[in-house]
């Protein structure tokens, strides 16, 4: 018997008792939808946490803090930095030191001082430093500044008090700034001037991901290290390694740890988090599968009734040469059809519910909690893998629940069926 003819049979059979089939499909759709929705909460929360972790950070980033020697941790030395740069899969290395000072453009002076990041421009750009405007510095007389740099500049009155109404409102790109570097005398602990540098702003950094973060930093070439950190005052660097591919981050981290470096990467955190969420997802899928199993009782009942009602038809078909396999496949196809309709409806409903929940939950949380949830907060997320797994479970359970009635159909005795004894 051809597949199309079996489908035609199934369609005819399903049309014979539409209301019963509808209720069974509805139960299957509800089971499938429950399965998807309950697991989607784990996916949504995981995605929200990952988004939060990745703000202002890259998945390929590894922070190296110190080197363990014996029982203690020591600051990284130049020889360590050279070694780190040559680790396999390391694409770039950002080595930053922080200097303090004051910046001015004409009469406008930085209100709260200026934080200067001293680093290698070429490595910073390779490490993913992104500009909203302009270009990377080409020499040590050029600089890039944070997105909110201009907002930190204001005029001062004769008493050196800040005039808060006189904020710099021009475009700083192309402007020449004066950076007065400051340091502390280690002996007297008094503030000392380390020099004054004229720099041209050639680029402005991207706006920070977190809305509450303001970036007024300026970037200086690492050629200023000797001036800004004279003698033995060179502070420990903040070191970030950028790995060529996300899948190599764990390997590089492991290698560094085995070489006694103290490291942290977002990927490691995400991996640990993934494990927790994997257990959570499996648990929720298990709970959701119970709903599908309950729905399968409906399918079993519907199919059993269908077999009983069609016993005479089955007997006639067997009498004229219908193979038991054909009979079984028709009934299995019918339970698969019920499952498929349930899955389709359940999936569509789940996506709609998920969108509704994601739209409704943040305002509810805002009204209940003091603060706002993060911008990208998702309470429910339905990745395609969840849809496929749920559809697979629902369809599998639907077919399984149709197997016993289908087997019963093949065992129908022809003579009893023809005598209307069944």
């Amino acid at each position: 018997m051809k597949f199309n003819d079996k489908l035609k049979f199934v369609k005819q059979n399903m049309n014979k008792n539409k209301s019963r089939i509808f209720m069974t499909v509805l139960a299957t759709a509800m089971g499938c939808s429950f399965l998807i929705m309950i697991a989607s909460v784990a996916f949504g929360l995981q995605q929200s946490l990952i988004n939060d972790l990745l703000q202002d950070r890259s998945i390929t980033e590894i922070q190296v803090h110190a080197l363990k020697k014996g029982e203690s941790y020591e600051n990284l030395q130049q020889s360590d930095l050279d070694a780190l740069k040559n680790v396999e899969h390391v694409k770039a290395m950002s080595v930053q030191r922080i200097a303090q000072g004051e910046t001015s453009i004409g009469d406008y002076v930085s209100m709260n001082g200026t934080r200067a990041v001293v680093s290698n421009f070429e490595q910073e750009m390779k490490a993913g430093l992104e500009l909203s405007e302009g270009r990377a510095p080409a020499n040590d007389q050029e600089t890039v500044v944070g997105y909110h740099f201009a907002k930190n500049l204001a005029k001062r009155d004769a008493n050196n008090e800040i005039l808060e109404n006189e904020i710099y409102n021009g475009n700083v790109l192309g402007a020449t700034i004066t950076f007065k570097a400051k340091g502390f005398d280690p002996e007297t602990n008094a503030e000392v001037s380390l020099g004054e540098f004229s720099l041209t702003i050639v680029g402005i950094l991207e706006k920070p991901d977190r809305e509450w973060t303001e970036n007024s930093t300026i970037y200086l070439s690492d050629r200023y290290n000797e001036i800004l950190f004279p003698g033995d005052s060179l502070p420990p660097p903040s070191v970030k390694l950028i790995v060529d591919h996300a899948e190599n981050v764990t390997d590089v981290s492991s290698e560094l740890r085995s070489n006694n470096y103290s490291v942290y990467s977002v990927a490691d955190s995400i991996k640990e988090m993934d494990l927790v969420f994997l257990v959570m997802k499996i648990g929720l899928l298990f709970v959701g599968t119970i709903a599908v199993l309950i729905a399968s009782i409906g399918i079993y009942n519907t199919m059993t009734m269908a077999v009983t009602e069609r016993a005479q038809d089955i007997g006639i078909m067997k009498a004229i040469g219908a193979n038991p396999r054909t009979i079984r496949s028709i009934f299995l196809l019918e339970s698969f059809g019920i499952g498929l309709l349930g899955v389709l409806i359940g999936t569509i409903v789940s996506y709609a519910l998920s969108a509704l929940i994601n739209a409704a939950v943040p305002p509810i949380l805002s009204s209940v909690l003091d603060g706002n949830p993060p911008d990208d907060f998702m309470f429910s997320s339905i990745p395609i893998t969840l849809t496929l797994v749920s559809a697979g479970i629902s369809l599998g359970v639907a077919v399984l629940s149709g197997m016993r009635p289908a087997a019963r159909a093949t065992r129908i005795d022809v003579l009893r069926a023809l005598r209307r004894d069944i």
Binding site: M1, K2, D5, Q12, K16, D313, I316, M317, K318, A319, I320, G321, A322, N323, P324, R325, T326, V414, L415, L418
Partner: protein, 237 residues
């Protein structure tokens, strides 16, 4: 074409563990040749229908051998029987046994569907056969909309659609009036003449039995062969 050797059959009756075996057929030996019409007569409960069910593969004999179309089908599984029956034999039932939710056309077409014949070819063959049997105009009618004679013709059409060499008929005129019965018997004879179909007909009706080249009587589960194969021996009721 059909050969039964030492067929015995007994039904198990009663509750499990307390069953008793009731013998229905004893030492049946029967050969039906190709193109022959054999009618089998007997009282109600004599075992004639059981014999037909064994030939049709609906019952497995307690002992003995069944050969049909040169194949030993005695130990065939249900699946093997289904395929064998579809290809080698058509079955006509007393109560027509049409599927009520299918039209005359769909009932007739069903064996072709089970055989996996392409839709266009199915349509051609079905309409041609319905036309030959004079019921083409009722193709779209459901069984409940047909007379007994028309329903039996649909049943015949369904059993012949795959051109089987053997036709088994179990009390085929039991639900027909005398006029339809006569037409039906004429149809069976013409099918035998034109298609050389081998016919094994179970009946208790003299008129039906009269169309057989041979008529055999079954009594208390035993086959009684008449001394003159062309003489009809009908037991007195």
């Amino acid at each position: 074409m059909i050969q039964l050797q030492q067929i015995q059959h007994a039904f198990k009756l009663g509750r499990k563990g307390n069953e008793r075996h009731v013998p229905v057929l004893q030492d049946i030996n029967l050969t039906v040749n190709k193109g022959e019409i054999v009618t089998l007569i007997g009282r109600s409960g004599s075992g004639k229908s059981t014999l037909l069910h064994i030939v049709g593969g609906f019952l497995r004999p307690t002992s003995g051998k069944v050969h049909i179309a040169d194949q030993d089908v005695t130990a065939y599984s249900e699946t093997q029987w289904a395929d064998f029956r579809r290809i080698h034999m058509g079955v006509v039932f007393q109560n027509f046994q049409l599927i009520p939710s299918m039209t005359a056309y769909e009932n007739t077409e069903l064996p072709l569907v089970l055989q996996g014949v392409a839709p266009n070819e199915r349509r051609r063959q079905t309409l041609q056969l319905l036309d030959q049997l004079g019921i083409a105009s009722y193709a779209d009618h459901y069984p409940s909309e047909l007379s007994g004679g028309q329903q039996q013709r649909v049943g015949i059409a369904r059993s012949l659609i795959l051109n089987p060499p053997i036709l088994l008929a179990d009390e085929p005129t039991g639900s027909l009036d005398s006029e339809n019965e006569a037409q039906f018997l004429e149809l069976l004879q013409s099918l035998n003449r034109e298609r050389s179909i081998t016919l094994l007909i179970i009946t208790h009706d003299d008129k039906v039995a009269s169309i057989g080249n041979r008529t055999l009587r079954i009594e208390d589960g035993q086959l009684i062969h008449p001394s003159d194969p062309h003489r009809l021996e009908v037991p007195k009721q």
